[in-house]
Symmetry: D2
Subunit: 405 residues, 4 copies
């Protein structure tokens, strides 16, 4: 993997340290517990792994230096996060798992100094976890954020938040929530939304059931959360009132890419496990790995891995340049989610019956990666957005050239 | 689904009864227990469901009439088994789940009258379960049966069987095993194999651990089974000595097709659940089901369902005509396994986040159908066999026409 | 290809005769002229080939017996047309090429005895050719027939037809046109259309340029045709006034299927040529046909061929039963057009550089089959129709069950 | 297309100039002649276009500065060649068409000063054309170069070359040939090959027929060429004796990438034409470009374009770093050839019947790009090479770790 050739010596060393740490200390834990992080100890395990990561010098590579992180930009995060994602537990160990990682990014960009001291500092240090409360049960905000129904109303210098959230990752055990609530307009019209910082112990916050899903490598579940008459002061507003949809974009573009980085690591592990198996198994009088149909799968995996990495390089470069990167992150996310799914699926297939057994990590990886084609915007929504921009540009180009005549 | 138009009135009525039975009595049980048949009661549940199936007049449609079945040929089984497979528990309720269904078929064709009385009668009636012990841990028999290592040696009018089996579906709780053992030749050369009927309580038979897999809708697990100095009389030989590989083909062709029928039913359920959801949900100002990218998935599912059914019709017709049907069953199995996977995968995607949640059956169906691209011969092995025959024919055609000149 | 096993001895013999005729007398002509039927002689060649087909007893298998045909139903046409389509010139030789074949079908069902005597008799006999003038240049009738702009107005016992048509296959040299013209309503609304029988020498009929396309195996081109003040009597109305859209369906369902049959034959030829090549060529120290990646392509072709045939069997059966067969013909057409494209594309790939050369028929077959994914309704329009029916049924099912409560 | 953001101002300006030149001066010529460069004037047209390119300051961007070129490295060539490839005639106009472009590259790296003066100087200036004579008719050198059969024997200070070549692009009218001939070993064993510079008028050189192919945008055809008793002096040896296979790699890696750049430009044109069409056409009561299934095709094209560009960036960077880049060029070539094919195919489909007509450039682009999945190594050969390296590494890793124990 010569992609590191272009990284600075410091980053190259960090990538190497991360690999060693993950292979040596984290993968064995994951495999021992079949990838079930809750069964493996949940937050107790998290604290222990994060301590080890600090000792290994690989903790919080994304967090601002002033909060104890390594301050990497997006381009440098890519290979480090990929190395961490090689184990399903790796991102938690490095404190770069969703949703905390995206929340750190958001707070670093939008929060006031007081908010940073109170929320970002302990979050970056791994002292607490957090959750991002945007998604709602149908017919509320989902792929279409304009459907947002949770409301926040201001009266007497305070805000009162009411609404139901759904699929809130990490909610159970989170220290605080970033809550997206409508502060103007009506569901269906875009209107204005505001983000609020809400400590988990605020009266009226109720974390409900864990929604069982195909993926299980997150701490704190995907939960239902109710906010009933939750009252917070003005200082709980993150950034400015009515700019929540903009801030969500600030969070989403990079968060999509870090998702890709982590899942790409998981896909690489599946590929490595499968290649190792076919390189040593025999069947039909040959090494399996020398059979043409297996070679096709190996090569297709290599192509998908290379293309995912290449698209990441492009999108991260744009983000680091300060560009909006709407197209490049949508393209990278859509391609990657599907490529990662294909990589793991081919790896399962290469391994035959062992591929669907829990004795190898392949079966669980196939469960874990499937939702990524839906999370962070289903492929269909990204394709729709990409096409709308492209076709819209063609319509305008024509209108302009007509106008000129 | 006008395919029934070509079935006799009796079969048409049976299809309808099966649908009503499965929708009314079985699906609710499956959904209540999240598709986990062991958690739902295992054999206790099985007995209860089979009693209900008998009362509903839909029990054992495949079994010979003299053993209490309905005696359907392959062509007529197709729609009935599909209707049963609509619920993951349906095949168990009708006593047509793997491996019992295939074993009934095998015993009906190969077993002696005494063997039929002792094994087929209670199996067809649902009084006992059975297992088919062929697959072995690497480097033994798997996709390549010639690697068979379990041996049976004859001495003093008895056979002594020794070997390790792996991935033996339904082993835990089975009343007897059909054991495939090498009786001539060496692993790697084809040589000769023989099938033995071995009661589960025979000394030396040890059922080991359940191998955890993506699929969980079978009773009795996929197990490791050891045969150590297992001694059986000549009367335990099924059919003739050294003809085991031939008999395996007798079992495999039809068993592949009944697998397709059942899984096609499961795929149809996934499709129905997803279509029902998109027909009633709104997003982006429209019914989801009226959005073009969703319409594409709906139509692709319809096409895959229709093509799978059409290939089944063809292969079953050949089998009923007494043909070997090597190509048509390999083609139908390969296409179907991949089509069924695609159908369920698209259904998950159409449902968005709900598609990966356990609140709907889609997530579990996506787990359950994945292994079918590997079980009963991975797609790659079937493709290899199909191509070998076709290219071989082209080589021979040329040799012949050269010979003629 | 044991599919014939289910055909009557007469049909089986006809299939065999057709194969021999096409291989022995037609393929050599096609290959000598690189598949360019115009360059090979156009109508002169057609007349000569049709005379040979009559002598071989394979002429006009689809036409009514009273008009000199063999009167086959749709199910029996399938293997015969496929055998004819094995050569690009075969359908012309048998007088079953588009659009004449579909026009024979239409006239046999809708035309009056006088119209049959005047138009169907010579058409079925190959004495004249015909064209079906429906498609119009944008924004007129195309995939969306309701956009029809050509108008026919009645006055004084006569009809005056005005409009522009586009992509009218076989127009140059046709003896008559079946013209679709609007007789009520406005473009965009469905309204009513009527079909008119218009001799080619009627004043005001002008056949314009041949539109160059990827496919070139048709006689008479895909042409622009103008109808200016074309006046015809009442007796030129085919069937009833304002029922043209219905009659188009009568023509289209079967015409789609006969298209599939013919192109499937072409795809089979591509496959045979490629398999023959890889069965005899060596590379990398092996027969190419024994390499896994080639085997995969061979097997995928076999699967696509079998699935196309199986879907044809289904759709033809429905049509022969007198069913509307909207879904089954849309499904078969969409699957087949894409499968046929894949088969030819894989055949090209298997043959390597020779696959893109004119020395073999593969390159021209790849050109010829591409448009079929667009002709007779693009895949997208068929998918839209399939999904609309399915999702519509789900909406209604819910509405009904709500109504019942 | 913000990819230019990372290019130097000089290169950015060159890209822009190239676009303007190609749109303003070359595309109209291509479209007027339906993309048939021979019909449009062949070498006469070439000379005229190259003069215009010189005036526009966009000529020979790849050639060394000392030979009148712009001296771009691979990374900078990518966007410039893509802009040139937007027209099928663009590469010829800029003197960067195959095979001359690759031959310039090869001569710049391997040729002696005398050879450069005699061959490279006029080639870079567009005064002559050249051909690369490696491929042979079966069973000679093709995808598997070790099958090389053309021989060169040395006697009396001279070399005598004998052999048949096939598919030699640009042979008709070439000023000289670079001939690959076996100088040691036997066909099937790798042995040694040597490259010779052979003026076209050398006795014994005979250019035979043009092989008709799907693509027609090259000058000088794909020809059969015979070398019979062709005698050349020692000074005709390019580089060193027996190092021809190594030099072929020097040429092939970059040549693959420049092929990708050019064809990517062609694919972008197809996409632009199709998007422009669907952005302005209506059907089914909507802009076609707002229909979901069309949006899917638009987005998939955008994704394929972005991924191809991203993989090019990666491979060019490696080549500019002096790396061998076997994997990255094989991956980029394989992905790109298939992506470019898909892009053009979807563009055809979006345009409907117009997509297969010669009125738009889509039909001819679909013909032109198809062979690229075969030329420069079929996808299967690249996949085989990628997998062999990857599986080989896994075998070695295991052997090493075993060795260490």
């Amino acid at each position: 993997m010569p992609i590191e050739l272009s990284y600075s010596p410091e980053v190259t060393a960090l990538i190497e340290r991360t690999r060693e740490f993950v292979h040596g200390e984290i993968l064995p834990v994951e495999d021992r517990h079949g990838g079930d992080i809750a069964a493996a100890g949940g937050d107790t395990l998290r604290v222990r792994m994060q301590r080890a990561a600090k000792q290994a010098g690989v903790f919080a590579p994304h967090a601002p230096v002033e909060y104890g992180g390594l301050g990497l930009n997006m381009s440098d995060r890519a290979p480090v996060f990929e190395a961490a994602g090689y184990s399903l537990f790796g991102p938690t160990a490095l404190n770069i798992a969703a949703p905390d990682e995206g929340n750190v990014h958001l707070l670093a960009h939008i929060a006031s100094p007081e908010q940073q001291a109170r929320y970002l500092a302990p979050l970056a240090a791994g002292d607490i976890r957090s959750a991002f409360a945007m998604t709602e049960p149908a017919p509320g905000a989902g792929s279409d954020p304009s459907a947002l129904r949770t409301r926040a109303a201001r009266s007497g210098g305070e805000w009162r938040i009411d609404g139901q959230k759904w699929f809130i990752t990490g909610a159970d055990g989170a220290g605080f929530f970033i809550v997206m609530a409508r502060t103007s307009g009506e569901p269906g019209s875009r209107g204005g939304a505001t983000m609020f910082l809400v400590p988990a112990d605020t009266p009226g916050v109720r974390v409900g059931r864990h929604i069982g899903t195909l993926d299980r490598a997150m701490i704190g579940g995907h939960c239902e959360v109710e906010f009933t008459d939750v009252t917070v002061p003005d200082s709980a507003v993150l950034g400015e009132v009515d700019r929540g949809f903009d801030y969500a974009q600030v969070r989403l573009g990079p968060a999509r890419m870090t998702h890709v980085m982590r899942w790409l690591g998981a896909a690489c592990r599946a590929h490595d496990v499968a290649v190792d198996l076919v390189a040593h198994r025999e069947g039909f009088g040959q090494r399996l790995g020398d059979l043409g149909m297996i070679q096709k799968m190996v090569a297709d995996n290599e192509i998908d891995i290379a293309a995912t990495r290449a698209l990441l390089v492009r999108a991260c470069w744009e983000l680091d340049e300060g560009l909006r990167a709407s197209d490049s992150t949508s393209i990278a996310k859509t391609f990657a989610a599907e490529a990662i799914f294909r990589i793991v699926d081919r790896s399962v297939q290469m391994a035959g019956a062992r591929g669907v057994c829990e004795d190898l990590p392949l079966a669980r990886l196939s469960r874990e990666v499937r939702p990524f084609r839906i999370y962070d915007g289903p492929s269909e929504v990204h394709r729709w957005a990409i096409a709308k921009r492209r076709v819209g540009a063609a319509k305008r180009a024509d209108a302009e050239s007509s106008g000129r005549k």
